[in-house]
Symmetry: D3
Subunit: 251 residues, 6 copies
């Protein structure tokens, strides 16, 4: 059940049987000359919808711009500052918690979002208690990173070994190829690829990773691989969501 394709009366009915909602979150950032700028949002959204079908969970609107300041030296990247993103997530959860939602499961497609999301969650719990919303003590937020699913990680290593890298990876590119076969890109990539540098500011990042790849070879991606990753991630995160939403509140 997708929120944007539902009516408020359907949401009202849903809330009688579940207080859980899945929020896909990605990023709009360079993914090398082969990967799509929307990769992280595309993956998170597709998997979230798959999870929604498998679990009857409500899927909220995709947060398609995240925390990608370190990629902003590449054109086409859009990023929220962390302090903006905290306010955004706060506004989302405040609205939904007032309506009765209490279990927020973020299916995330971008490593750069994790720290800010976790910071936001802490701020939000305190904010909701300050607002004295009746269900504030029950509100729980969790971030589930599809690319860190053990089954996904295992397959990526099998298929690509070290060439999986850590940004613009063949696994995420494969997933976008499965979802958007009409947008498969070809571009020459140098056989050498930088890797191993920590991430600091945007200028530094582009200097160290001149084509945007971090140790990866996205040219290895195929749509067929993408379907495999999709299936694995949907299955693992469906279980993750159900555990989260059915978790014993009393501990």
């Amino acid at each position: 059940m997708q929120l944007h394709l539902s009516t408020w009366t359907e949401v009202e009915a849903y809330l009688k049987k579940s207080q859980g909602i899945i929020l896909p979150i990605g990023s709009t950032e360079q993914h090398s000359p082969i990967g799509l700028i929307g990769t992280d949002a595309i993956c998170a959204e597709a998997i979230a919808r798959g999870v929604g079908e498998a679990t009857q969970a409500l899927i909220g609107p995709t947060i398609n711009v995240g925390m990608a300041l370190h990629h902003t030296a590449f054109p086409g990247t859009i990023s929220l500052r962390p302090s903006t993103m905290i306010q955004v997530v706060r506004d989302y959860i405040t609205c939904l918690a007032k309506a009765g939602f209490s279990k927020f499961y973020f299916i995330n497609g971008h490593g750069g979002n994790i720290a800010t999301l976790k910071a936001a969650f802490s701020e939000i719990y305190a904010h909701l208690e300050d607002l004295q919303i009746s269900n504030a003590p029950q509100v729980q937020c969790q971030v589930a990173n599809w690319f860190m699913c053990s089954s996904v990680y295992k397959l990526a290593k099998e298929l690509y070994g070290d060439q999986e890298g850590s940004h613009a990876t063949p696994s995420e590119v494969a997933l976008t190829q499965y979802i958007y076969p009409e947008a498969i890109k070809q571009a020459p990539l140098s056989s050498e690829v930088a890797s191993g540098h920590r991430i600091y500011g945007a200028t530094d990042f582009r200097r160290r990773y001149p084509d945007g790849r971090m140790g990866s070879n996205p040219a290895l991606a195929t749509p067929e691989h993408g379907k495999q990753f999709y299936d694995l991630a949907v299955k693992e995160l469906s279980n993750g969501y159900l555990e989260f939403v059915n978790g014993d509140v009393s501990g």
Copy 2:
């Protein structure tokens, strides 16, 4: 050309011939028991993509949650506070302006976004000048509301007369039916519908407009109408975009 389906190298190439970008912006808010919660984002995104095809413009990621605080007494609504939205739009435009974009055309699906967008634009122009970005004096933002296109307005009046109303209108519902025929909703609506009240806070809004409609009869919508609205809006806003982006910078 859609940003999320492009690579950074394609964006780099695009910037050599155009500094314009279209940003669809909608809302996630109740649209009566018949209209979809994602109506405003769905419409803005679809029309923006149509305009993109017609004009070769780059289409950025859809801002699918906007300023809908007055709808938040209905479950499923998510809203940014205006001060959050100003920061969000600032972050988007700052990233894109640094990359070389200077003409920002917001195709908007929600009347409630207009004031905050305009406030944001003013704040952003000053911010970019403070940052001393070289193209700061050239940056221009414009909001284009598809539902205020004269051709759209005229057709809505012809088809629905007074039953067009001003929220959860048959015209916008029709457009979503054309785009998502699988999500056409049926629900009983009272023949009486409230209208004419000004918009204040969320509690007041729900009291005055108990099912969420503002003078409208969305049951009149059909997917065929939706296609007509789509075609008209795409045509009119394509012209609008080209005028904007080709405008004489020197005045």
Copy 3:
């Protein structure tokens, strides 16, 4: 009844019979070499006081600096950023709402304030509900622009035709001449005057409108005209205020 000339005990008594207050808001910005920098605040304040006399409404302190970032390339202009102005208006209304006021009627002298005021109102309604102030659901804000009164508009067209323009207009200059006859300015104006350009940032604005006028000929203003505008605006906005404050709260 003017707030700054009243005591708190008089306000306490006033609140027993009315919860309405009028807040004049203007701007401190260039108005061409002939118009006063304080034009918008002067006009709003004078008309608000006239409305106060006609309706027995309480008139709050004039917000004399508004949102004029686009005029800041001319010396003497002072502007709040929109995000600052939202906080300012929030602080005003929060104080007054806690004291029992619920109907806030902003008599506005500057078009550039409208978007930010409306954004502020939305933020404030939600803020007051979050604070759980008892009268939060009753709080209503409205912006009334004297220069958009139909009677004012009609007279301006009769007197000045196209030379009314849209900034540093003869109508507003006339009104300041009526109020401050000792501050009537003379300055040579070019016969050519720029018009028709949209408003973007401050540098762009000054380039397009080098003397600050937007299609207007303020030299046509006379104090006698000013009195006519004053009388029309006071009459029309007195009616507007009474309708607002006496509006059926139940819809």
Copy 4:
């Protein structure tokens, strides 16, 4: 020379001979059942205009709402939060400093503004240096409290002794009576008046100072006294302004 009664071309000419500006700042807060809510703004504005006449200084718009949170349990009080006020003052000075002003002399009518003003000044100096405004290192702000002028203080002690008190004082009330003789109030005051309590929050303040006076007897005020205070303050602050604006920049 008053900014609101000047044109931008007059300001441009002024800046060629002086970079100083006087900004009156008051408050909108209870001043007992006899003192006007606008007392602090009225006094600051009147004295600033007198100083302007005596020194040819430019007088900016009066900041008529200041930091009066501790008075907000009395109806009619409006206060900015300190963090809002810092942003407001920052916006004022940033606009004016970009235009070429560098000496900001705040004539202040309210003790509660002092701390926040000083905090704001510190923030602003750093902000202007961050913006790399060319005259940033020359920018100087000073707050001059008319009620702390030694000549004023001396006269108040002579006229009223201990009954001067520290809020809603006869000296400030006298000054408003001189300026607005039509708004002289009469109200019974208890002969006992609270004094000596420190200022904390609003609820505490009203409990300790139930009619709003702090050790004062404003019934002693006369318009004639007011004129004396006005003359003394104008003279002393005129000297203060000239010293400030002519101060040796090199130390």
Copy 5:
């Protein structure tokens, strides 16, 4: 009793007999070539601990970075902006007030903190009332500047006369020598020392006070003097704290 050396159960027990807490606040800023960068925090912390021993008060963590923007042109200085510091103090007091504390006594070592602290207190009282914390109306904050103790001031004048100056004073340097005899510094100081200039921005400050001293001769300091200052300050502030915390709440 020091908070950082206590357990939460000890704090719980403490709260049953006292709702007072002492918060030392200093700064991290240049103190001439002889004075330690941590001078203000060292002094505040040491004195606070002495007061804690004398009065059984709980001593919170030292705020060791304060408002020192004007010293930032000297390397090693770290400063909060005033608007950040307001948020920091707000967060501290909100946590502690929710736990039951209501009397906050800031022992301060830096004049530059005073204005921002006072601004913060005003903001916090209002914030706590907005949160509807039960003890909000009882919350009281006070800033006690050890260097302004009358006994300290008197001794400094006796020992150093005019060479006490107003920054990097021999009295504060002496106190740090008493506390950290291992960190007594020697450095040549010019016999001429600047004094009498007002404090504006950082660039201006360093230009006027090139070695960081303001009229002082810190070479006069000895650890023995330091012990005297320590004893005087502890005694005077212990009395101050007890008066504050035992103050008649009803006035």
Copy 6:
């Protein structure tokens, strides 16, 4: 070399040979009835000083209050909100980067700080580039958690096995006992201890972890263990710091 025990001239000299600085960061939060509220700050500060001695690095002031909102239902806990902490860290690094520092090594004693610190770093890199500080592209921040040192982790497992737990651990308590032997606490602890629950808001946390321990048995701690942990952490983080600060800037 400790910043608070240095002079600005010593810092100036230091900067000629190193641009690195270590910032200890802890927390002020409950650590069970046995662990000190200052545990995280005490550990981070002590280890940082040890690292400073071993590497000649400059050690900045300890950030002794961090992000501990989830512990705020226990009295004595003080926490910054994440959005406040981002501003604090931004202010620190901005001051220090302007002075010439570029390598910021945070020795951290609290897991709850990590996410917010990382979010802050991202915000800061972009902020410094916006300020156009010359060394902005060289600025690098890193967080080093002493409790996650592999040698520390290994010893903790050897000494305590599963009773190490994840909050109020015997390893951190042991370290505080080594540093403050005079503050070793005794208190009865239930043999049962909650574990395995995720961390959400403060009310939820206290309900799940009623005495504040998370699966740990801090009664196992001894000062001798503490010394071992101290030595291991100092050694491992000294290496970590040197690698960081000597890292090949060119990648």
